[in-house]
């Protein structure tokens, strides 16, 4: 009974998705591609002088497409398109069914057949689960949650606070 006892957020590792200027303050965002508040959080981080590390907080109970969308982003990552897919998912959260994912692949120039094969690789589902468990152990109880400094915060990061970071 110790699987999800309290633990700090794991530090960024080599297979984490990170973008932003080197040397900028790091924000670890735990988010779900079906969650409107998460889309707002991603937009604010994109506009802020920070480096963003994206991790999945995809809850099956929240939305039937939460986990499939997270796995799809990991499949896109295998074609070096994680962030492009991330942006495309958050830009149109009303269209997250499989045909919509294939449309995104085509628009981004991805190999759809390879995407489909990769989506079924259990390693990607395990990767998403790993992120979710890390978030739960750190105390995330809502989406989004984010880590700035040593503290886990619940909710959407404040735009003014983000813009003041450097």
């Amino acid at each position: 009974m110790t699987g999800l006892t309290s633990a700090p957020v794991p530090p960024p590792g080599p297979d984490d998705h990170v973008r932003g200027a080197a040397g900028a303050p790091l924000v670890i965002l735990y988010a779900d591609f079906t969650c409107p508040r998460c889309a707002l959080a991603a937009e604010r981080l994109r506009a802020a002088p920070v480096r963003t590390c994206f991790r999945h907080l995809a809850l099956a109970t929240r939305h039937r497409r939460a986990v499939p969308a997270a796995i799809a982003a990991e499949a896109a990552a295998r074609q070096d398109a994680f962030w492009a897919f991330h942006d495309a998912l958050f830009a149109d959260q009303g269209r997250l069914d499989d045909p919509h994912l294939w449309e995104r692949c085509e628009r981004l120039g991805l190999d759809v057949a390879r995407f489909e094969a990769d989506r079924r690789d259990p390693a990607l589902a395990e990767r998403v689960t790993r992120d979710v468990r890390g978030a739960l152990r750190a105390g995330a109880a809502t989406t989004p949650a984010y880590v700035l400094g040593d503290a886990l915060h619940q909710g959407v990061p404040d735009a003014e606070r983000l813009s003041s970071l450097s």
Binding site: M1, T2, G3, S6, R62, V132, A141, T142, Q154
Partner: protein
């Protein structure tokens, strides 16, 4: 009002299950039970909290522990709430007399006329671990439930 501390025996109380049957102190005997007190069905924060707990429900109950949501809503409201969320965690109603069981556990927020946000883990009718937020808006992650179960296992 502070939530009951570890070592305290469960008070006499009566809550109503979703099927109308009573849930009382006698139902705690020989069991490990997690009571999740929350303010209101359908409030956004409660929605997030129970959906996160549902994600870990299999692990929470794997070793025989039981978990229940407790609020001052009527049983019908709780069931509608639970079904809307797609959550299976059973609910216990503290509707009538309103808040009496929550008060007995020290988990009633009088200014709001509602249960406060608190967690109580009981082992064989005795509080093994408890948590209470600074105010009802503070969200307890499911990690705290596991911390409580770990404390109960070693109690």
């Amino acid at each position: 009002m502070a939530v009951l501390a570890p070592g305290a025996p469960a008070p006499e109380f009566s809550l109503q299950r979703e099927d109308g049957e009573a849930f009382t102190r006698a139902d705690l005997a020989g069991r490990t039970v997690v009571l999740v007190f929350y303010p209101f069905a359908f409030s956004p924060v409660c929605t997030d909290q129970l959906q996160v707990y549902e994600e870990a429900l299999g692990e929470i109950t794997a070793d025989g522990a039981e978990i229940y949501g407790v609020s001052c809503d009527a049983p019908y409201s709780q069931t509608a709430f639970r079904e809307k969320l797609g959550v299976t965690i059973p609910q216990l109603s503290d509707f009538e007399p309103k808040g009496e069981a929550s008060r007995a556990f020290g988990a009633f927020f009088a200014p709001g006329g509602m249960a406060t946000r608190a967690l109580v883990v009981l082992k064989d009718g005795v509080v093994a671990w408890s948590w209470e937020g600074e105010h009802p808006g503070v969200l307890p992650g499911v990690n705290l439930v596991f911390d409580g179960l770990q404390a109960a296992a070693s109690a």
